[in-house]
Amino acid sequence: MNKKNKKPNAAKRWLDKPQNIRLFIRGFYCLCAVIMLADFVFSIGWHKHAAFSNDSGLHGVEPLPAFYGIFGFLSCLGIVYASKLMRSWKGKNVLMRDEDYWDK
């Protein structure tokens, strides 16, 4: 699944080199850190608009710093593991079938 695969004779592209991929990923981690920092600074120093009105239970929770980041990260983990279970459960296929399934 990694971007590292290469053919011996093909012209080398920037993305063919593993160190560039590592660079890319490291840059991405930095970006995540920067946005998290920005969220904290903005939440403490200024004022975040609450999406929910006062009477909602989430009024106090949603504007907390990192709420969106944690939610996004966890939901994606959840999606991936849940969809793996949709494919197969304890070694048995649940929803996944062979490609010629419909023609059988």
């Binding site: 699944m1 990694n2 971007k3 695969n5 290469k6 053919k7 093909a10 012209a11 592209r13 993305l15 990923i25 991405f28 981690y29 970006l31 995540c32 946005i35 998290m36 920005a38 969220d39 903005f42 200024w46 975040k48 608009h49 999406a51 929910f52 009105s53 009477d55 909602s56 239970g57 989430l58 949603e62 504007p63 990192a66 709420f67 969106y68 980041g69 944690i70 939610f71 996004g72 990260f73 939901s75 994606c76 983990l77 999606i79 991936v80 849940a82 969809s83 793996k84 949709m86 494919r87 929803l95 996944m96 079938r97 062979d98 490609e99 399934y101 419909w102």
Partner: protein, 605 residues
């Protein structure tokens, strides 16, 4: 009478340009036919811009007055959108050599414009049926057995939708007379349990791919021609959204339906191997956002739904175009077989990334300015659970459409394919769409000013919004990268996944097989007994019964001496032979008939 120009206020129906284009394309050949793909939408676009809000046109048909066109700002917006989509898809399909496909594509676009401008339910119904019939050629155009079967399944759903719509209209007409034909909101009558409104909602629900009614979408689009989904994704479902916003604004049930639509396709999209099918699932997910917006029903939420329909046509069309180009060049669309195409298709890669950024609602791209209205309105109206669903769906859509599509097709492991870059007309079409994706993302006021309520007071670009949006996107992407590095992201496997279509494609077939076995078995048994045994016996009795009877009586009668003076055996043989030939004089037969009758009479007493 000229049916198209029988108007009182406006000169011609807004769909005229596309209709004529479609008809003309059918008789032209080669490049001339292709030229209509560009000229017709351009004319139509110009004509829409001359229409004034509030104008209308009526048509007398069989003694009924049909409001065939009613121009309001929503209709105009969709009019622009459908013409723009037709223009882009037309440029994209410019290389087609098949005049039939070109012609039906333009007629399909014309039907969509007709739906957007329909003034009452009757004219809506006519265009609605046109939409069903003209669209299926985008699937059949592939000319494979799978496409043919899939086209019939597609048609089954859409004809059902038309019939349900008609049934709903007739029920309402029966109850309320001609006032029921207007395109006024039916939300209240739906919530008071009116069957006609329910049927109409169901008809729209099929076209909008409500959960459970959605299987035609991922089935049909994935079997269509490389250019087909670019047309298909622009019109059918957006017509449904357009009519849903007209007829059922604020219907509570839509909020739940939309939330389910936004969430469940994500799981399917992650494990789906056919990349166009991944786009189909993400399309259902995006329509879910619109349905939620319509269900909330505030002015801003409806505006958000319509704006999202507008941007969605552009970026989803763009994604389908990039996948269509991949299919066109490589003949392959399964994620397990693609990868590394960025080396030879850099432009397509770039445009695909723009589309992916738009669908993921990255700020400065078009999805952001429309989707955020709906999410904000959901929160403002206190739908906590639905808000979580939509946020979850936003994270998921980045995962599956935003990253998976470009990564699997163009990067990922190198599949070894080195196709040529997409043809110029495809690149141009993708370029135009990309331009609009970025332009509307950077200048949302252009879009907002066209909306029915002008998206009053909404500003997508404030600091809170930007930070939270970037945060959710980046951390969702982070999880993708970390899972990939760990190797625990579900791999692309050559496979298909069961969906609701299992019911009619497998269970239905199995049911058919069982029923066939059972009833044909019963039929065969009954056939064996009646035809094989009883008829045979009756036949043999009718044929040789008399012989046995006469044989039986031959000896006693010979004893008495009325059968001549030959020997017993000889007489018997003679009687048998003559009885078999049927040459006995009537007298003998009549005698036995008499004896039988007397016997019956005696027995009966």
């Amino acid at each position: 009478m000229n049916l198209l120009a029988s108007s009182m206020e406006i000169g011609a129906h807004p769909a005229t340009a596309l209709l004529l284009g479609g008809l003309v394309a059918a008789i032209l050949r080669g490049r001339f036919a292709s030229a209509t793909l560009v000229i017709a939408p351009l004319f139509g676009l110009w004509y829409i811009s001359t229409l004034e809000v509030g104008s209308f046109s009526t048509l007398n048909l069989f003694g009924y007055e049909i409001l065939s066109v009613a121009v309001d700002s929503q209709a105009k917006l969709f009019g622009y959108l459908f013409h723009l989509a037709a223009l882009v898809a037309g440029i994209y399909s410019f290389h087609l050599k098949d005049p039939w496909q070109i012609s039906t594509a333009l007629l399909y676009a014309a039907s969509a414009v007709g739906v957007a401008f329909a003034g009452d339910l009757l004219s809506l119904f006519l265009w609605w049926e046109g939409l069903a019939i003209t669209s299926v050629f985008q699937i059949w155009g592939r000319r494979t057995k799978q496409a043919e079967d899939s086209g019939f399944r597609y048609l089954f759903f859409h004809i059902s939708s038309g019939l349900l719509l008609l049934a709903g209209i007739l029920l309402r007409f029966h109850d309320q007379g001609s006032s029921a034909l207007s395109l006024q909101p039916l939300t209240q009558s739906l919530e008071s349990g009116d069957l006609g409104s329910l049927l109409i909602l169901l008809a729209i629900g099929i076209k909008a791919a409500f959960p459970g009614l959605h299987a035609w979408l991922k089935d049909g689009y994935a079997e269509a021609t490389p250019t087909g989904p670019v047309w298909l994704c622009a019109f059918t479902t957006k017509c449904a959204v357009c009519i849903l916003a007209r007829l059922f604004p604020g219907a509570e049930v839509l909020i739940s339906i939309g939330a389910v639509m936004a969430v469940f396709p994500i799981f399917y999209a992650i494990i789906e191997n056919d990349l166009r099918r991944v786009l189909c699932y993400s399309k259902i997910n995006q329509i879910g956002f619109m349905v939620v917006g319509i269900g909330i029903g505030t002015e801003l939420a409806i505006d958000g739904a319509i704006a999202h329909a507008f941007t969605h046509v552009l970026y989803k069309g763009l994604l389908f175009m990039s996948m269509g180009a991949v299919l066109f060049r490589t003949g392959e669309i399964r994620g397990s077989h693609l990868g590394g195409l960025y080396k030879t298709m850099p432009w397509t890669t770039g445009f695909c990334i723009v589309g992916a950024a738009s669908i993921s609602a990255v700020p400065l791209f078009s999805g952001f300015v429309s989707k955020s209205i709906i999410i904000t309105e959901t929160a403002r109206n206190g739908h906590v659970l639905v808000w979580f669903c939509l946020l979850f769906a936003s994270a998921g859509v980045l995962h599956k459409a935003g990253i998976k599509i470009p990564f699997v097709a163009f990067f990922s492991r190198d599949g070894g394919m080195r196709p040529k870059e997409a043809p110029f007309n495809m690149l141009l079409a993708m370029g135009i769409s990309s331009f609009f994706c970025v332009f509307l993302g950077c200048n949302p006021q252009w879009l907002y000013s066209m909306l029915p309520n002008g998206a009053a007071g909404y500003h997508p670009y404030d600091a809170t919004h930007l930070i939270t949006q970037f945060e959710i996107l980046l951390f969702s992407a982070l999880s993708y990268i970390m899972l990939n590095l760990k190797g625990s992201h579900p791999a692309e496997l050559p496979s298909v996944n069961l969906d609701i279509d299992w019911i009619y494609r497998k269970a239905g077939r199995r049911f058919m097989r069982v029923m066939t076995f059972f009833w044909n078995g019963v039929n065969k048994k009954v056939h064996d007994v009646f035809i094989g045994i009883i008829v045979k016996k009756v036949n043999s009795f009718a044929k040789s019964g008399q012989v046995y009877v006469l044989e039986f009586f031959a000896d006693p009668l010979h004893e008495i001496g009325i059968l001549g003076s030959d020997s017993k055996a000889k007489t018997k043989a003679r009687i048998t032979k003559r009885a078999g030939l049927g040459v006995h004089p009537v007298g003998l037969t009549a005698l036995f008939g008499l004896i039988f009758l007397l016997g019956f009479l005696l027995l009966a007493q």
